[in-house]
Structure formats: structure tokens, C-alpha cells
Symmetry: C2
Subunit: 554 residues, 2 copies
Amino acid sequence: MKTVIIGGVAAGMSAATRLRRLDETRDITVYERGAYVSFANCGLPYHVGGVITERSSLLLQTPESLAARFALDVRVRHDVVAIDTAARTVTVRDIDAGTESVETYDDLVIATGAAAAPGPSAGAVPTHTLRSVDDVDRVLEVLADAGPQPRVVVAGAGFIGLEAVENLVARGARATLVTRGRQVLSPLDAEMAAPLLPFLREHGVDVRLGATIVGAEPGRVLLDDGGTVDAVLVVEASGVRPDRGLAEAAGLEVGPTGGIAVDARHRTSSPHVWAVGDGVEKRDHVGGEPALVTMAGLANRHGRAVADDIAGLEPSAARPALGTAVLGLFGATVAFVGWSERRLVADGRAHRVIHTHPASHATYYPGAQSMAMKLLVDPASDLILGAQIVGGDGVDKRIDVIAVAMAAGLTASALSQLELAYAPQYGSAKDPVNMIGYVAQNLAEGTTDAVQWHELPAALGAGAALVDVRTPAEFAAGAIPGAVNLPLDELRERHGEIPDGAVIVHCQVGQRGHTAARLLTQLGYVVRNLDGGYRTWLAGREATAPTLDEGVHA
Amino acid sequence: MKTVIIGGVAAGMSAATRLRRLDETRDITVYERGAYVSFANCGLPYHVGGVITERSSLLLQTPESLAARFALDVRVRHDVVAIDTAARTVTVRDIDAGTESVETYDDLVIATGAAAAPGPSAGAVPTHTLRSVDDVDRVLEVLADAGPQPRVVVAGAGFIGLEAVENLVARGARATLVTRGRQVLSPLDAEMAAPLLPFLREHGVDVRLGATIVGAEPGRVLLDDGGTVDAVLVVEASGVRPDRGLAEAAGLEVGPTGGIAVDARHRTSSPHVWAVGDGVEKRDHVGGEPALVTMAGLANRHGRAVADDIAGLEPSAARPALGTAVLGLFGATVAFVGWSERRLVADGRAHRVIHTHPASHATYYPGAQSMAMKLLVDPASDLILGAQIVGGDGVDKRIDVIAVAMAAGLTASALSQLELAYAPQYGSAKDPVNMIGYVAQNLAEGTTDAVQWHELPAALGAGAALVDVRTPAEFAAGAIPGAVNLPLDELRERHGEIPDGAVIVHCQVGQRGHTAARLLTQLGYVVRNLDGGYRTWLAGREATAPTLDEGVHA
């Protein structure tokens, strides 16, 4: 029996090594178009930045080491140019020799991954992606040839784009980030991404929102807004798309997302042909529909599952993909899972939104860092639809906890019941995840009612009174236009000062507002608490209305 | 309506504030025997160590702040000395005034917590616990009066004992840790705790295992093994027991563990009387039986639930307790959840054991730290029974992920499918939790068979061959007696050198051993892989056989 695997990085190599562990007698051949297999693709930007100092650290395995340990026949710089599913053959081009040969297979695994989406060409300025070791070599060559503090442009403000920016800055470059979007990190909602903009600028990054590279002259790129940016290098990070050409030419079915269509066992439309990794459609956890989720963890896991299937083990069906992701950015951490509010709105799905601003650990213990959390909840089922967290320490932990809760089908209210490890250096007796669960429970049970930052103008326009229950000092340092200040601890005495009609209360982050809302509700008021408090309102304002500076008195 | 709450720290104060948010009209009185309410009890050791510099940081609320915000009547230094459940009254002693009064209640909440178990009296040496702000004041007074580098003894090597040791050392003391046990941290299994012993000694701590304080003379304590230890101070941390005297005297039912018996809604055996917090029995997640689990998170959560019940909300039944816990120790992190192997063995429960030694994040990214993980699995259901992790970065994250999986009823194999956030600073494409899930799955499916470190002598005695598949350099640096070295990458060529009969393979941590076991199994051998590899074997040897030094050749 002979298995051919096309692509020798995450998914392909996981399939190959697992298959060998299951079947010692099978011929296993891996064809990889590039010069390296099994390299650390998620580490590439950090070698540019000098964080990973040794280039060799990126090369986890070689054809030789894989032959010795797993008896794999690994051919680098071998490009599979055609598949004949009827004859069960592949046509392989030896790139260096310039020759082609036809090889048979009993089982075929396509793990060609994704390729950089065609960005706007930068023409006269060297332009590279950060997808391979070769890419990194070329980027470092350009930087080595440039003078000190070379000017570089990164096109695209997603995960790879922001990792590229951070590492180019670490390498001494002056970076300009160009993105078509109105924000960085489009998987985040606007008010969650907004604080990252001044943060990037503090770190010396020139951010150009709503801009696209349309051309280049030697030493500078041209933007569609008429601007130009001096640059010795463009790093293209506008996104990736499934590398499906080979599969498509072989007549394999392609799904609605443009990824190779597979079933839960990663079988393509053709017998004896599996496909796996970034080139393949996954099923989305929230919506159930096909989706492109290009994560290394899924690629590894599904590659391994394909090997089980080929070897005749009971195949484990791929679980729907959550798309859990995390990004380090100049010491901050950004993470998300599931769907954003934007996506839920676009899809017309009912949802409940919760913003909190907890500390990474007990505030009485030094070093606690503030984070912004957002939870999206299905109001009918109370199931978790998504989460976003921006902060520092402990962000990765909380997104993982929520991802497990989502995968296990726990409700948002059940987050309050999770028994998470507590000591004051690590968390709080009521962990941030517990607390957001309590808010969810209060909303689900009707104990409290919330208004979102973007709903505030309409609510105030309809005549609601806005009561800021923070201290006078907090109020003086910046307040929402139209708010009256009635500190929480005086509210029992002074609530008579609130005008008749609907009331919106708010504090800094939402917690004192909740206590105020409960008090006023019991006193007969119709009250809503501004979700996430002043801090979320401020982030929302930054996200949407850059000209509203007069709105905040200082 | 009048609610009386006895005890004003975690559980009692959570009940009081939640109840006020739900019911503005109710009289709520809190009696606290000590001088402070709502203080940061988990932070007390860190004020001793000077990590939390301001004593005021420990005092989260005062009677005045609670009156202003929540209209609570909080009486500190008021000791409830009797409850009359028939008359619905409590007898309260005003400690400072020396007077007693009888107060009525409609609903009563007992949150008296736990008290230090009676340790062996140290007599002539000042002895304090670390349970209250007063305790901390007294400890700091003793240390202030002592000379530089005072000698101190900590009795008890549980969480509080180890936190006390760390902080006394931070304060400049020379600490001796005295414990009856054969190891520190008895919730851990022996081989998981063993590496902490040299680690503590490296940090200057004198550890006396298997010893008990039996008396004292001025300036030194006497141990039952005939030893003496110079000491100006003894910190008593031998454990706590439910402070149930008041409840017992009132005729309330006490459970088999010695905690106040309550139902899932925390109702005691008497109507209108709830009990909550460290003084109360919980239901154990793994065994389902009553258990004492003294965790701040549970106390807070259950206090809140009691308020819901009193206020007439749909009460949420307390979930069984996992006992998730974490400890920081001289920069290391120790965490566990559920049951240990020792407890499973004692209970006669079938279980499967898995040890791994993963890195905190991708090893190609600098700064990865090694951790030791142990997972206990029910072989029939594949459910997770417990986990233990010892390491540095990322230990708290992994125990939380496993705790959520346990609470949600995920199987051990399902850990492999969790979609955890990955970037190379934060984890691995196959996270340590995923990896231990894969091992569980391989064992559950019979893809691999394991032998535990403590089963090795019997297996070798029965004639099994022991094959060390590490490199010759690793073998030369230390090997298991009787092992022959056949490096994994030469095993296909050289397996003929293995003698007939059963084979046990091992590597450093278990992963190469797994590959070797799969290879040899397919070549017809009957093979088991030494679980956790050389590293777990070494830890087990340290745990059990301190005289076997000749067993390791260097």
C-alpha cells in the first residue's frame, strides 16, 4: 500500500508521522514544493524580529530526520502538478532537475494549505509574504541591505500583519501599517479594536486605515487615498486563500467558501483522496455552515485524524471549528473565539452582548493588569456565541476557558459556576470568567437590563436620564455628555434628584452601575445599566466618531 | 424581614451584598467575631512577605463602606454565641462592651468558616496561624522584634504552609518546614511532589519530613524524632477544620466529614437556616460523597446562591466541587484538580494514569518552561478523575482548562480536540492539554500500552527487557538500571538485539517511547511504554527510595 501526501508542513506531516506509527509496512511519500518541511510557520515573524535568533530553530525536522525516525520518503522542491483520481496517480515535477514523473498511490492526502491572497502589487518596491523560510530569508536580505531604521510597509492588519509590524519594529524598522478596513484586526468588534490604534501609534507604528496600496515607485508605495509612503520593503499580509488549484483541476469538489470540500472525515468528493489543513473547508461551530479557519492546531489535529482513517481506525469526526486565536502585540495580548457582534448582526442572529473590564488577578496583589472582555450570547439558549479579550496577562487563559465551555456546550450563565484555580497571583476568587457569567445570568434571569454603548444616543434622544454613579473625581476626569453625577454611595439619599421617566445608569466598567440599577429598580424606576460602563462607551466613541472630541469634557 | 448573617468574610459578605441587590427593603445584619470584614484572606501571607506592601490593601471593605453602599448593618467584634432555631433568635456578645443581647431573625446564614486545626502546641515559642489580619500583625511584630535572619518554623506543608514559608523567606527569615507527611503538598501524588523537595532546599528552606512538633523551650521547638529546631516563631498551618461548634450546639446536623450538613441549596437541617463556606460540606465531583473543600471561590459563589434562595429567586443548586487549586512557590506553580492517584487507590477506584512533560509554549520560541503533568482517567467511562501540574508559566491555564473539561463532563480523549488559542509565545499547535488527550485516546483505543514507574520493578522481575530509545548521550547522562540503549532512529535496523519476551521501552518523557512502542508492536513484540519516561521514573525514585542512589549511574 502506498500513501502519497502533498504538502509537508503542519497537516501533511501530522498525517505522515501518525500513519507511520499506525502502519509500519506502508510506503509513505511526502511531496513538498518548498525547500523545507515541518518548519515552524507560526515562528517566522519572530525570526524577522530577532526574537528567535537561530534560523535553524525554525526547522523542526528534515527529510533525513524523518527518514530515520519514521521511514518517510520526503521529497522537497517537488511540485505535484496534476492528480488523476481515476488512475490514482500524481504527476510530480522535480523543480531542481526540471523533470516530471508519474507516481501511483493507493491513498492520497492533499495538504497544500493556503496561499497569500493577491494583494495590490507594490511594483517597484520589493514585496514579500511571510509564509515560508524563503520569505523570511528574503525579507532579512532586504533589511540587511537597507540603511538604519529602514522604512517598511505592512499591507494588512490581521494577525500576520500585526505580528509582522511588531517584529519589523523590533528589527529597527519604521513601519507603516496599511489596511483597507476602518480598524485593525477585523475579527474583533470596533470598540474592542479601537484601543489598539493609539497603542500601535505609541509603539511608533504609522497606521493608515481605509487605505489600499495601488502602485509603487522606487523607494515608495502609492495609496488609493493619494498618499505615498516611503518604503524599502512591503510585507504582504492581506490574508490567505485556499491553495486549491491542484484539487480543482483534478475535479475535486470545491465548497462555497472556496476551500476544498470535505466531509467530517476529511474525505474529498473522490474516493481514496483526503484533503486537510488550511486549504480545506471546516464546519463552523456557531453557524454550522462551511467556513475557512486557518489555524495550525486544526491542521495538525485533522492531519492526524486522516491518518487514523487511512489506517482503518475508527475515524474521529472533525468537531466544528471555533477559530480560537491569540495574538501578542508589543506586550499586549488579544484573543478571540467564535463570532463577533458584527458577524452576528450581518447574519441576522439574535444575540446578547456583555462587556466587562476585569483585572488579570486579585487587585490587592501587585501587578494586576486590566483587560477588556466581550461575550456574545444567544438569548434563547444562553449558549456562548463568541468572546473577545484585549489586555495583557491572563488573556490567553480566559479565552481558552471560554473556548472549552463553548466546545462543551456550557451556557453563558454556567461560566459563573466554573471552579477555576485561584491564588492572588493567578486570578480572583470570582475569576473574570465567573464574573462575566454572573452578568450573563443576571441578564438571562431579568435581574438586570442593559443598554449598549451604540444604543445610548437613541435612548437619550428618547428622553432617558443618564446617571453617572461614579465618584465626583471620576466624573470630573471625563464623563458622557448629558450625564448627571449621583455617586452610588449617595443614591439612596439622592435618587429623588433623578428626573421622571426611563433611567440609564453607568459607572466606570459596569459593576457599580449594576448595584445602582438594582437599587433604583426596587425603588420603582425603569432602569438600564450601560454595559461595560464609561470605558466601553469611550472605546466605542473612539471606534466610530473621531470628530466627537468635544463630547468629552476633561 | 430580617436576615442575620454570622461571619463577614467571603461567603457571608457575598450573601449579604447579593441579598441587598435583590431586596432593598430587608434588614440585613452581619456579625463578625474578628475586627475586620471582607478582608483579603488569601493575601495575608503576601503581606508577611512584603509583596503586598500596604496593610490597608488587605481590607477590601469596612463596616462604614458596606453601610454606605449596601445599607448593611455590619458589627465587627460581635460573637454569636448561641442560636435558637425554634425562637429564631441569636445571642450576640459584643466583645468590647462585654454585653450580650438576643436578636431575632427571619432568615439566618451561618458562614463561620473554618478554624486552624489544633496543631501540636509549641509552648514557649510564639505560635500563630495566618487566618486573620490580627494573625499577620502578630507575626510581623515577632519578626520585627527578632534580629536579622530570624529562625522560624512552619508546621504543615500544605498550601498555606508553603505560602508561609515562601513569604517568611522573602521577609529575611530562615525557615524550617515541619510536616508529619513523607512529602510536601499531600494532595499531590508522591512522584509529582518529589521534585519540590530539592527545589525548596535550593531556596534555603530546611524541610523536615515525617516530623511533628511535640513541645518547645524558649527559642526552640522539639520534634518527635528527637530533633530540635531553633525558632523565634512558629506558624501553625497544619490544616483547618469546620468551625461548627455554634451550629452543632444549635442542634443542626453535622455530616460525616465534620462539616455542617446542607443540601444543594445550602439549607441546613433546620428551616430558615442556611450555612455556607468553609464550615460546610460540599458534594465531591468525582466520588459524589460529602467532602470538605475550603476554597474562596466556592465560598463566594455559594454565598451568592444562598442570597438568591432567601430572596425567592429560582435557586441554582450547588455543583459538585472539583477542588481546583493553584500555588505559587518561589516562582514555580503547582496546581491540581479532582482526585489524586493515592486517593483513587485508597478508594479502590479503577483508574488510568498518564504523565507528560510538555513545554509551556512552542520550544522554538524562547522562554519555554517545562512542566510535569499527570492525568487520572476512569478507564470505563474515559472521564477525567483528576490532574496535577508542576511547572512555571502556563500551569494555571492548563489546570483551568482541565477543570472546565471535568465540570462539563468531557472525556480525557476529548482533551485532544479542544481548540485552544495558539501563538508561539502562549502555547503549541498541539497544546499540552491536547497532547495528554492524545495519550489518553491511544490508551483508550489500545493503540498503546503503558507501564507506570512503580510497576517497573515487578515487570523487570518477571523478565521483561527494558529498552532505552534515547540517544547514547542521554543514556550516558543517567539511565535506569538494567536498560539497554537502542536509539529510536536505529530501532528498525537493530531491533533484533532485543531479547525474546516482553519488552518495555522508554525515552526521556514518553513521546519517543510511544513511537518505539508502535514500531515494535507492529514488528510482533509485546511492548509497553514507560509512562512519563525517564523523568517520571526519576521523580518516582526520588519519592520512594532515597537510599537507592546507586541505582543511577552517572
